[in-house]
């Protein structure tokens, strides 16, 4: 019996989450098969991370190591980072330029599409050794991923059953991606965080628009939310993908900075609020847009700070959160500086995201000995409909709707 079959989801449906989902080791293995190697699209990297033909970079799908390449003609490919021979990693560097991929262990070589092209000493040396004539060295080749892109984001899937990317995303999510990815990208840098928690706890955190103003008190402490910010939540039909957005509280004008200074003089506010000065580069007044695509992709616009995030599931309680922060090739110096300053809001030291590295771990520590207890997820009702409020857990329930469908739970 599979781990999923041995478990029964509570009768209340996605308004309850049983804590065993974060601690069942067999379930973790099954997720690799049914979710990450299943009918899902997994974000691999930005196209801008492979700027030239004949280049590669490594990534992951769940726990599986993956190589993403751009071949001589500029075509993108992705395949498992595992040699057909002894299973060694093919690429041991994070990125590089290459016309072919050569396994370091026994020099078996591959083209950039992941096809085995050469076996060292296949015919032996001086008539001795080598493989039998009927040997099939590519009997167990690295698995190839189907690759699709949207707005310069590269996604891959290992399953033939995955619908086309656009369909998987749903029209509103696709629109939200194209909105942010408005021009050719310039990568500004990256880093990662090792989270002491299950991957699903981080994804729930991302989709949980309810916690934002409660856990992250940076904006309220410094009285930076001057107006009740209008916003809302968009959830894809599958439940798995979401957008949470809010309008910028200010128009980015002097008024805002002066208010900030005033608050600072009164002992509230920031001394240097210029850091937050937002330019409405999209012309729609939206100051925050968090977008997720299940299983593990996040696209974030926090004012002028833009980033993609993905997860590598190293273990049941060990998840790496990989950040790539970017701007656009046509940014002027002032915009680049603005993005770098606003990067203070995000990442492991981010004013508003530092807590997100730890909070999933707090849950993990709390529930490890409560496998059969249920979490009540009823903020905003029990459904997964889009709403014009963010005081709801609808997109968390959306995630579990997606999860249950994938896992057959």
């Amino acid at each position: 019996m599979t781990a999923a079959a041995a478990r029964r989801w509570p009768a209340e449906g996605v308004a309850r989450v049983p804590y065993w989902v974060y601690s069942d080791r067999d379930l973790f293995e099954e997720e690799q098969e049914r979710i990450f190697r299943g009918a899902t699209w997994n974000f691999l990297c930005l196209g801008a991370e492979l700027p030239k033909p004949n280049s590669y970079r490594t990534s992951a799908v769940g726990a599986m190591p993956v190589v993403v390449t751009r071949d001589a003609e500029g075509k993108l490919h992705a395949f498992e980072n595992r040699c057909a021979h002894r299973g060694s990693l093919l690429c041991i560097n994070e990125r590089g330029e290459a016309r072919d991929i050569v396994c370091v262990y026994h020099n078996w070589s591959y083209d950039l599409a992941g096809n085995l092209t050469g076996v060292a000493f296949r015919k032996g040396m001086a008539g001795k050794g080598g493989m039998p004539p009927d040997a099939r060295p590519d009997e167990n080749p690295p698995r190839k991923l189907r690759v699709e892109t949207i707005g310069g984001l590269i996604f891959g899937t290992l399953s033939d059953k995955t619908p086309p990317l656009e369909e998987y995303l749903g029209p509103e999510i696709a629109k939200g991606i194209r909105r942010v990815m408005r021009a050719p990208v310039r990568v500004l840098g990256g880093y990662s965080q090792m989270l002491p928690s299950n991957w699903k706890l981080y994804m729930e955190n991302v989709k949980d628009s309810y916690h934002a103003s409660l856990l992250h008190t940076f904006f309220t402490t410094f009285r930076l939310n001057r107006l009740s910010q209008k916003g809302g939540l968009v959830i894809s039909e599958t439940g798995g993908n979401h957008i949470s957005y809010s309008l910028a509280a200010d128009t980015g004008g002097k008024e805002y900075e002066q208010a900030g200074m005033r608050a600072a003089q009164e002992g509230f506010g920031l001394e240097a609020p210029q850091m937050l000065h937002h330019v409405d580069e999209y012309g729609d007044g939206i100051g925050l847009q968090i977008l997720s695509v299940s299983p593990t992709f996040v696209l974030q616009q926090t004012r002028n700070s833009l980033a993609v995030r993905r997860l590598v599931t190293h273990g049941i309680e060990r998840t790496e959160l990989v950040w790539t922060i970017f701007g656009f090739a046509d940014d002027d110096e002032a915009m680049t500086e603005r993005r770098l300053q606003q990067a203070n809001l995000i990442g492991p030291a981010g004013y508003i995201s530092m807590e997100d590295g730890a909070a999933p771990g707090f849950v993990q520590r709390g529930v490890n000995t409560a496998a059969d207890v249920l979490s009540v997820v009823e903020m905003g009702g029990r459904g997964i409909k889009s709403e014009d409020t963010r005081v709801t857990e609808a997109s968390v329930r959306g995630f579990w709707t997606f999860y249950r469908a994938q896992m057959g739970l």
Binding site: V187, L188, G189, G190, Y191, S192, Q193, M194, L195, P196, L215, T217, F218, T221, F222, L270, E271, A272, M275, E320, I325, T336, L340, Q341, A343, N344, G347, P348, A349, Y351, M354, E355, G357, A358, G361
Partner: protein, 157 residues
């Protein structure tokens, strides 16, 4: 480089890490010039010519904002650092500014007792030696060897 300069730099570095390790965060901005540059980045970002930092400040006011946020806004478990630094390698700059490159290691101890080698890297500093507030940092670039941070980076490095 004369012995006196070396001594001044080492003394500044020692007081700097003592302030951080002793939870005297309010003193931290005073180790910098009013207009300054403090950047925590990774060796990988630098090698690729990428400007991104995890923490980035261009004034003492921004450093004070960070301290106030850590004290009043951000939520993180009680923890402390222990910095160990090596001897600085000095280079004479212009206008009484010295460049100092100093290896560091930081061990982080959580309130639970869990102790972890948290960060290693190099401080690439520009230090002002003349003036009423000297010596102090005009620029401090914290270059982390690893691009990976365990859980979060709350206290500055």
């Amino acid at each position: 480089m004369n012995v006196e300069t070396t001594f001044k730099v080492q003394e500044l570095q020692a007081r700097y890490i003592q302030a951080l390790d002793g939870d005297k965060l309010e003193d931290w901005p005073n180790f910098f010039t009013e207009a300054c540059r403090y950047l925590v980045t990774t060796a990988d970002n630098l090698a690729q010519g990428m400007p991104l930092g995890m923490i980035y400040a261009t004034s003492r006011a921004m450093l004070r904002d960070r301290v106030r946020s850590l004290r009043e806004a951000n939520v993180y478990e009680a923890q402390r650092y222990r910095h160990m630094i090596g001897p600085p390698v000095l280079e004479e700059g212009e206008g009484g500014v010295v460049r100092a490159r100093t290896n560091f290691m930081v061990v982080r101890t959580m309130h639970t007792g869990e102790t972890l080698l948290f960060a290693t890297g190099v401080y690439d500093d520009r230090i002002v030696l003349e003036g009423s507030e000297a010596p102090c940092f005009k620029e401090k670039i914290v270059v982390l060897d690893s691009r990976q941070i365990d859980t979060l980076l709350a206290i500055p490095l």
